[in-house]
């Protein structure tokens, strides 16, 4: 159990650094002993100020903060169930941000919300309605006391999916499930007490929570953590910190590899020889991205053999599968039509006409079973079946918090339906698409429905006549959002309306669409039942874009 591991590390390796918290060119170090003491103090503070007798969830809404991890652990020690939620960025509209969080606060009725000074009023405006105490992270003080450990099968934390209103779901994970994931994944990832992890990943996302917090701290490793906003503006800070602290492990979404290549300084070399593993996760892994990255950084210490692919999701704590350390990645070519049309993955020669390369996400890690839910096909059909990926095992979650209906729909018997489409060839898992209408932009998931609802609410857009599409941008290494929306307004008024739609979407979802394309009423293709068809509008948009490019 995470708490037991931390107690052991505090005794056995008390003076070793647990967390190096980097902020604006300076840093603080917390040793394992200090981390334990701080989390005990914060446990006492939370215990004395959170509401008793509720479900016990504590929402933590913080910017990158030295105390965020000790606080999270403190909540656990005090018997509460912590959950990180994203904070509004400087450019976001606070009203829209709070609207999108009001329902999750109402449904969860947390025992407390911990935030920082600037957000106290915004949080209190909602929390006060439900009698939820709002606590300032910088004002929490308590005397450490010995608290009994929670039961292994009690809920340890919630990971929240993205999405507004009913789409935002809390994945509930028990201490036992987390421990099984940590045990299995630390082995697969090659993490141990001597490991140094460097990360800018936010903690409200499963990748940050598990790779830059729960897993490394369970094994007694050291985390170097810095702010995601700082990284976007200064991508080479990640390379500088790897160099400075001899970082060995790092997890990044696919787009981040492109961003590092696209912004790499031409007049500075980095010594990245300490890197053992850079893992791509949270977005489809692209071999073209890895090829570019290896070509740029091989001479600095990151050859192909150090690049790895991982398939993960909050519902399985984190990892499902990963390629082995030291073996690099391999792109295997499959017939594209077979995958999309016939639901069979048939291998082809590299570069063959009609074939596309796919990167393996490795074999399932210990403790989880993966299978493909596919239509029956002829017994002698070539290749392997393509279908929805199902998982079951020791670290698959048991349900969404206070959301039984959604939980029931998410399972097929004892198997969790991931909503992702893929296939297993020779034991290796490949991801080819997804069933759910989700866009993955810069490593974050957005429901198409959410984006459409926000765009639809802008005066000038015909309500309900909007479609949000995720279109791959090879240069960026990520999908980007394209909005097609109907309007009756004259063309002269389009630029102002496009700007408003972009601003409203950013304000509510922290997403900048690449393009807002306005079309006359009745232009978007409808299904036979009268709904706007995402797939048909997507096909038409791509065809139009390609013919424009020719």
């Amino acid at each position: 159990m995470l708490l037991r591991h931390l107690d052991r590390h505090a005794v056995e390796q008390g003076p070793r650094p647990c967390l190096i918290h980097w902020r604006s060119e300076s840093y603080n170090i917390l040793t394992y002993a200090q981390f334990a003491e701080l989390s005990n103090r914060l446990a006492a503070a939370i215990k004395s100020r959170a509401t008793a007798g509720t479900a016990g969830v504590v929402f933590v809404i913080l910017k990158h903060h030295l105390m965020q991890l000790p606080l999270f652990v403190g909540c656990m020690r005090a018997g509460f169930v912590p959950s990180f939620l994203p904070f509004p960025s400087a450019k976001q509209d606070p009203d829209l941000y709070w609207q999108s969080h009001a329902e999750v606060i109402e449904r969860t009725r947390p025992a407390a919300i911990v935030t920082y000074d600037d957000l106290m009023d915004g949080v209190a405006a909602i929390a006060d309605k439900f009698g939820v105490p709002v606590l300032d992270i910088d004002q929490l003080e308590g005397e450490p006391e010995t608290l009994s450990l929670p039961a292994e099968d009690s809920i340890a934390l919630l990971q929240h999916s993205s999405g507004t209103t009913g789409l935002k779901k809390g994945v509930a994970l028990t201490y036992r499930q987390i421990d099984r994931q940590v045990e299995s994944y630390a082995k697969a990832a090659g993490l141990d007490q001597s490991s140094i992890v460097v990360s800018w990943l936010p903690y409200y996302h499963d990748m940050g929570l598990f790779t830059a917090f729960v897993t490394p701290l369970s094994v007694g490793a050291t985390i170097v953590s810095f702010d995601a906003f700082e990284w976007v503006a200064q991508p080479d800070l990640l390379l500088r910190l790897i160099e400075r602290f001899r970082g060995a492990h790092c997890w990044l979404p696919n787009f981040a590899f492109n961003h590092l290549v696209n912004t790499a300084p031409t007049d500075r070399r980095f010594d990245l020889a300490s890197v053992k593993s850079l893992v791509s996760c949270s977005e489809p892994v692209r071999s073209s991205t890895f090829d570019l990255f290896a070509a740029r950084f091989e001479a600095e210490g990151v050859p192909r053999s150090k690049l790895r692919a991982c398939y993960a999701m909050a519902e399985t704590c984190f990892a499902v599968s990963e390629t082995p350390i030291g073996e690099g990645y391999e792109a295997i070519w499959y017939d594209a039509e077979g995958i999309e049309g016939a639901c069979r993955a048939v291998r082809r020669h590299p570069g063959a006409r009609g074939a596309r390369p796919y990167v393996s996400n490795g074999e399932a890690i210990e403790g989880i079973d993966v299978r493909i839910l596919a239509e029956a096909s002829a017994p002698l059909a070539a290749g392997v079946p393509v279908g929805e990926i199902l998982v079951r095992g020791e670290f698959v979650f048991s349900g969404y918090f206070a959301n039984e209906e959604v939980t029931r729909a998410a399972f097929h018997g004892e198997w969790y339906r991931t909503g992702d489409i893929g296939f297993i060839d020779n034991g290796q898992l490949f991801i080819t698409g997804r069933k759910k209408d989700i866009l993955i932009v810069h490593g974050r998931n957005y429901y198409a429905h959410d984006i459409e609802a926000v765009a639809s609410s802008v005066p000038g857009i015909v309500p309900g006549r909007v479609v949000a599409l995720g279109v791959m941008n090879e240069l960026v290494g990520s999908e980007e959002a394209i909005i097609l929306a109907e309007t009756e307004l004259a063309e002269l008024e389009h630029p102002a309306l496009q700007r408003k739609v972009k601003q409203r979407i950013y304000g509510a979802l922290e997403l900048t669409p690449r393009k807002v394309q306005l079309v006359p009423p009745g232009s978007l293709i409808k299904t036979t039942s009268g709904k706007i068809s995402r797939s048909e509008n997507f096909t038409r948009f791509l065809a139009a874009t390609q013919s424009e490019a020719l």
């Binding site: 976007v232 200064q234 941008n473 960026v476 700007r499 972009k502 900048t512 690449r514």
Partner: protein, 83 residues
């Protein structure tokens, strides 16, 4: 002199976002240009730094609401560099 810098900045913006130079004016904002999000903004800043051979501080990079404001900020930086 006004216009060598302004022209260069507008050209780099146009090249970065693959739009016509004529579409970029002093009142253009990031929301007016397709693809100008926070990642692309960093790529633009890197290109401007290389092309103009100056270090652009984060305060200027993050707080220029229009292209005109960015150009004026860069002009001041250059003048300070020279003095």
């Amino acid at each position: 002199m006004t216009d060598e810098l302004a022209k260069r900045v507008r050209r780099i913006i146009a090249e970065t976002f693959n739009v016509d130079e004529g579409d970029i004016t002093n009142v253009t904002t990031a929301d007016d240009v397709d693809g100008w999000d926070s990642l692309a903004h960093t790529i633009l800043m890197v290109r401007l730094q290389r092309n103009l051979n100056i270090a652009i501080p984060e305060t200027l990079a993050a707080n220029s609401p229009t292209v005109g404001a960015l150009i004026e900020g860069l002009r001041k930086l250059r003048e300070n560099d020279k003095s």
